[in-house]
């Protein structure tokens, strides 16, 4: 088997808030390969989003090791992490986080105008349109978010995640704000990205959506375990 895109070994994370410190991840091991899709199930507050934020380099683990293509990025600098977030990862959130004053195309272009390299306007536009076409909303490129439905908005958000051709796509409850039918459509769009070799981690509450992924994991008490059918 090929080398994993990412490998987490014994990752632990304790959240220190105003209350007692709480260990939300306790010795988590996880590998993601190119073209593989993983669903992570779990109760609210079980640490699913924390896991995603560690994988997405929003935060750093307290203990354990994080390898990205065999490179140890456990204690990576914020500057390098920003560059990796731009080049390696794509993010889809429950709330779509589309800027209301920008068109769909401009929202997608946000990921290209981020100070990590520079693309001329024409190339930028071409990449944006390609990303919008991949998720089937190219015809909505000039629309502002207020004129889009929830499903359309989430597909624009997915296009924003895909526009830099990420190797790993992280989706944090992307169907949480959508009805069942639209949610299915969005999950299908996300799953289709693995056909191009993208690794996908989907955090969800929905078992049906999880079952569409190649592997389903369950996070409980800070420990990640395989879900049996």
């Amino acid at each position: 088997m090929t080398e994993p895109l990412i490998r987490l070994s014994g990752v632990t994370k304790t959240l220190k808030g105003q209350e007692e410190p709480r260990t939300v991840l306790n010795g988590v091991d996880l590998s993601l390969y190119s073209g593989q899709s993983i669903a992570v199930l779990g109760r609210s507050g079980s640490g699913k989003s924390t896991l995603l934020s560690l994988i997405g380099l929003f935060d750093r683990p307290d203990q354990g090791q994080y390898l990205l293509r065999d490179n140890d990025i456990t204690k990576i600098s914020e500057r390098r992490a920003a560059a990796l977030r731009s080049s390696e990862f794509g993010f889809v959130f429950q709330r779509f986080f589309l800027l209301k004053h920008l068109t769909a195309a401009q929202n997608v272009a946000m990921a290209l105008v981020n100070g990590q390299g520079w693309l001329p306007r024409r190339k930028r536009r071409a990449k944006v349109m390609t990303a919008l076409e991949q998720v089937g909303v190219a015809h909505l490129a000039k629309h502002r978010p207020a004129r889009l439905s929830g499903g359309e908005q989430q597909r624009v958000a997915i296009a924003r995640a895909l526009v830099r051709d990420p190797k790993i796509l992280l989706a944090d409850e992307p169907t949480g704000a959508l009805d069942s039918e639209t949610g299915n459509l969005v999950v299908e769009v996300l799953r289709s990205t693995t056909d191009r070799g993208c690794g996908l981690i989907l955090v969800t509450h929905d078992r049906d959506h999880a079952n569409k992924m190649g592997r389903v994991l369950h996070l409980a008490d800070g420990v990640l375990g395989q879900v049996t059918a």
């Binding site: 934020s53 997405g56 914020e78 500057r79 920003a82 560059a83 990590q116």
Partner: protein, 429 residues
Amino acid sequence: MIRLSGRLRSALIIGMQGIRSRKLRTLLSMVSLFLGVLAVVAVQAGSQIAEQAALGNIELLEGVDGTQMMYVSQNDKAPAVVLDALQGKQHAVALVGTRAFIGEPNVSPINKGGGPIDQGASGGYYCSGYSACSPDDNQAQGPPGKAVELSLTAMTGDNRQFQPFRLQSGRWLDFTSPASLAPRIVINTKAAEAFQRYQIPAQMRITGATADPTPQIIGVVDDGSGAPGAYVPYDELANWLPPGADTSLQVMTAPSETALLQTLKARLTAAGVPAGQLQVRTINSKAHVAEQLELMRLIFLGMAGLVLLIGVAGILNVGLATVGERVEEFALRRALGTPRLLLAGIVLAETLLTGLFTSMLAIGAGVLGLRAAGVLVGNSARFSFLHDLAFPWQAGAAGVAAGLIAGLLGGSIPALRAARIPIATVMRA
């Protein structure tokens, strides 16, 4: 063509998007900053204009900086020595000053004492330009009549290389043509005003002269003086002045003519003029006045700076509120790979662009204000310097600098806040 770095371009693009999406807030920032930048522009423009006006007049009265001025005390032989020494010298001029009355003979002049016409008889005596300062003579003791007392300055050459008199009408003195028995004189604007106001016969009495010539007024100059005056070629005055007449004598030379001044000093001393009474002064009035104006400018700039601070506070206030509103946007941008530095740059780009736009508006207002002032009051004598006055580029540069500094100061704290927004905000939302 200047190629900006990717980060700078990104900051400018996103900054412009931010400004466009929050037009009202941007406008409010600009309103508070506008007055501050306008104050800086006005102070800088005002000081430049005042400097131009003040320095323009000071050069007319005192001479351009660097000019050497020698004062020669009263001596019978001195005029002949000076005239001989200056013969054929292009960069040296002797100025012989006396007093003259143009108008009815044997009357007390309208401006007794030679002062400004508006002030009437100032009494006593009045020293102006190069005229001799002496008590009123008998000619000025008669009954009041239509005559104007003025300072009369005779020159051996064109003094405008040292004092750039502004020709208002007619022509300047011709030092190459033969002397005329009817002296060709150029009067200053104050004398011209007097002759325009009063019907005065063309008879000129020169202090110490035995007969009254009929002058030919060939031109009018602005010599910066507040009192009536006239200028005449020395040859033409010499026709009427007896030797030993009560005159003053000065020599103006270019800075390079130090050898000539030394020779002149030696010859005058040999002719009996006490060496201690031969004073040579180098004109540096412009530098002196500029120094005084600079102090005033700094005081006013300090006051304008305080007004500008209010604008900075406005930008800061709006900037902080905006960053508070855009927490999710900034967290999202970080999630998409935008470095912290660029996030700070985006906020700074917005405030700097706001400051730049505001400064453009303030400069535009300054240009229009100056034009309006020129149209409204530029025709009056007091504000004639406003007529056709160009907007000083220094004021424009100061306005742009003030706008950018205000943008930088007002935007730096919001920029730091934006850069510190935790990225996990998007996960918790």
